[in-house]
């Protein structure tokens, strides 16, 4: 139980503009022991931490006569910037004392020292500076300027009375950047996922200069990825027989010559050699198996001059846009009742040398002039 029988709290408003001002003080009176003590509550008005203060206390009696003066030093504490603080120690005062006056003499802040009205640089003491890492969050600004003074003055007055806010970089919006990072992660995940999906679905893999796909013990050439100008399609790839050249396998490649060395039956699909501007010769030996050439297989091969595949069966329009051809050798057309000109589209006549194994009527060669 407290022995103090009279406790008075007194507001102090004499020097509020001081960098460290006395906010209020409490006088504790023990009438039995005839003793009085005082506890101060200061306000640190600087936006730096305060570590030490020295102040002069003048004590006055009820007739406002000076009783005594003393100098008080408070050390070894930390007061937050722009905040109220209470030093730990109570000060014993004259029992006759009824009021006090406080005058600040010295204040030691984080980086400056205030003494007798002048600041001096204190920033060399790095030990203290290093302790000031946690900084208090800024106070929110008044919501509306016109109504703020009256409404907020009361609140702020007792708390801080002072608020600084850096408003310089407010144009930065962080969320769009965060959102972009999230999108990037999502896209990366989707792309990797689709890559693995594609790999598993296509079943494609690389052998020598070819990308191939296996099915039923045979392989299909999906793409040529080599740099050679003269390409040979071997009978075996990865130990399996080659059965097909897929659509787009040589699309827009720079190959000049293609030789097929496949023994069993073989198919050149639509668009397999489409748009090969440098392709001049396509050949296969007469010991090859049956080669089926689909429609548009050699579409737009503008330089193709020699087509020598004695075992090939050609589909209509397999040479669409390929008009430079000078020698044509094949087994038979796939179609019946048509003409040799049907291999090409939009041509009424052509001059070339040809060798066809099948017995065909003269109508088949209508519009063709032999070289």
């Amino acid at each position: 139980m407290s022995s103090y029988n009279n406790i008075r709290k007194i507001k102090y408003s004499k020097t509020p503009q001081d960098i460290v001002s006395l906010h209020e003080y409490i006088i504790f009176e023990d009438s039995h022991a005839k003793e009085k003590y005082v506890l101060f509550r200061f306000s640190n008005n600087v936006n730096q931490r305060l570590f030490e203060i020295k102040f002069e206390v003048s004590q006055f009696n009820s007739e406002n006569r000076l009783l005594e003066k003393s100098t008080v030093i408070h050390k070894d504490f930390t007061a937050e910037p722009n905040g109220l603080f209470v030093p730990d120690a109570k000060l014993k005062i004259n029992y006759e004392c009824e009021s006090l006056e406080v005058r600040l003499e010295e204040a030691c802040f984080d980086r400056v020292k205030w003494s007798g009205g002048e600041f001096s640089d204190n920033s060399y003491s790095f030990a203290e500076y290093a302790e000031t890492v946690p900084v208090t969050a800024p106070q929110s600004a008044p919501k509306k300027n016109k109504t703020a003074p009256k409404a907020e003055a009361g609140v702020k007055k007792n708390k801080l009375g002072f608020n600084i806010r850096n408003i310089f970089r407010r144009n930065k919006a962080i969320f769009p950047s965060v959102f972009n990072v999230i999108l990037t992660v999502i896209v990366a995940g989707l792309i990797i996922g689709s890559a693995f999906y594609f790999k598993s679905v296509s079943g494609a893999y690389a052998v020598d200069d070819f990308i191939v796909k296996e099915s039923d013990g045979f392989v299909t050439v999906l793409q040529y990825r080599g740099e050679e100008k003269e390409v040979e399609i071997p009978d075996l790839l990865d130990g399996k027989r080659v059965s097909k050249i897929a659509s787009g396998a040589f699309n827009r490649s720079d190959v000049e010559s293609v030789t097929v060395s496949v023994v069993n039956s073989f198919c050149i699909e639509t668009g397999a050699f489409e748009n090969c501007p440098s392709l001049k010769t396509v050949s296969a030996s007469m010991f090859c198996g049956k080669i089926t050439v689909m429609q548009g297989a050699f579409k737009n091969c503008k330089s193709l001059q020699l087509f020598d595949m004695p075992t090939a069966e050609l589909s209509k329009g397999c040479f669409d846009g390929t008009n430079a051809i000078k020698y044509l050798s094949f087994d038979s057309p796939v179609y019946e009742g048509g003409k040799l000109l049907d291999l090409f589209t939009g041509l009424n006549k052509i001059t070339l040398d040809y060798r066809i194994n099948a017995n065909l009527s003269d109508d088949f060669f209508a519009g063709v002039t032999r070289r």
Binding site: D121, P142, K150, F162, R165, F168, V187, L190, A195, F198
Partner: protein, 237 residues
């Protein structure tokens, strides 16, 4: 399109990404514009201290009627400012605009003080600060300037968002290509001819478009909030 064409497109988009980044950094589309133009205030006195010097300046313009002068204390490492009010205010808001030696704004501080004395509290200035302008905002019930920074125009926000989302698309495009080449190696050429590839490009484009929308939305929302003095609670936006 062949693998070579896709590779060329990847390199081009990577270059566009870098160019876009540089453009965003150098064009300063988000740079603050100010209502207040720097005024070289009249120097009243200069005094040398042990560790620095004090300079007292007269304020200028409408601020003169509320804040008569201000003192700048420069020490070796720190700079401080104290303003002298014309009278005691129950509430005063003023802006301290800090300029570098080259006249660029390095910081703008908004200061609110309640029940002032004739002097302001001590305000710490930026170390890069060479010159200061004090601009009055509100004094008691009189509102003189609501802000010193102009809100960003819609046009600038849209332009910034456009450049940003275009840069983002270029980045996604290049990233997409690199990931495919890394994960599919030899058969990547096949992927580039597949529908999946075109779908992934379309997804990148759509996400960049979404990014544009989000950027515009966030900046406009933030800007609108900042006008009402609500910038603090919108730090994340």
């Amino acid at each position: 399109m062949t693998l070579t064409v896709w590779r060329v497109l990847c390199i081009a988009s990577a270059a566009l990404f870098v160019a876009g980044l540089l453009l965003l950094l150098l064009s300063q589309l988000l740079k603050n514009k100010y209502y207040h133009i720097y005024t070289a205030d009249e120097l009243m006195s200069k005094s040398k201290l042990t560790n620095g010097k004090n300079s007292v300046y007269f304020t200028s313009g409408e601020t003169k009627e509320y804040i008569s002068k201000y003192a700048v204390c420069k020490t070796e490492f720190d700079r401080y400012l104290v303003c002298k009010f014309v009278k005691k205010f129950s509430y005063v808001r003023y802006f301290v605009m800090e300029y570098s030696a080259h006249g660029r704004v390095v910081k703008v501080q908004q200061i609110d003080e309640f029940d002032t004395a004739l002097n302001s509290k001590i305000i710490t200035l930026s170390r890069r600060c060479a010159h200061v302008n004090v601009v009055i905002g509100t004094a008691d019930d009189a509102e003189i300037n609501t802000d010193v920074i102009r809100p960003m125009s819609k046009k600038r926000i849209r332009l910034y968002a456009l450049v940003k989302s275009f840069t983002f698309f270029a980045f996604l495009f290049a990233l997409r290509h690199m990931l495919i080449e890394i994960f599919l190696k030899d058969i990547s050429a096949l992927y580039f001819n597949d529908t999946l590839n075109y779908i992934s490009v379309a997804v990148c484009f759509l996400l960049a478009l979404l990014s544009y929308g989000i950027t515009v939305l966030c900046f406009r929302k933030k800007n609108a909030k900042a006008l009402n003095g609500g910038a603090v609670e919108y730090e994340f936006v």
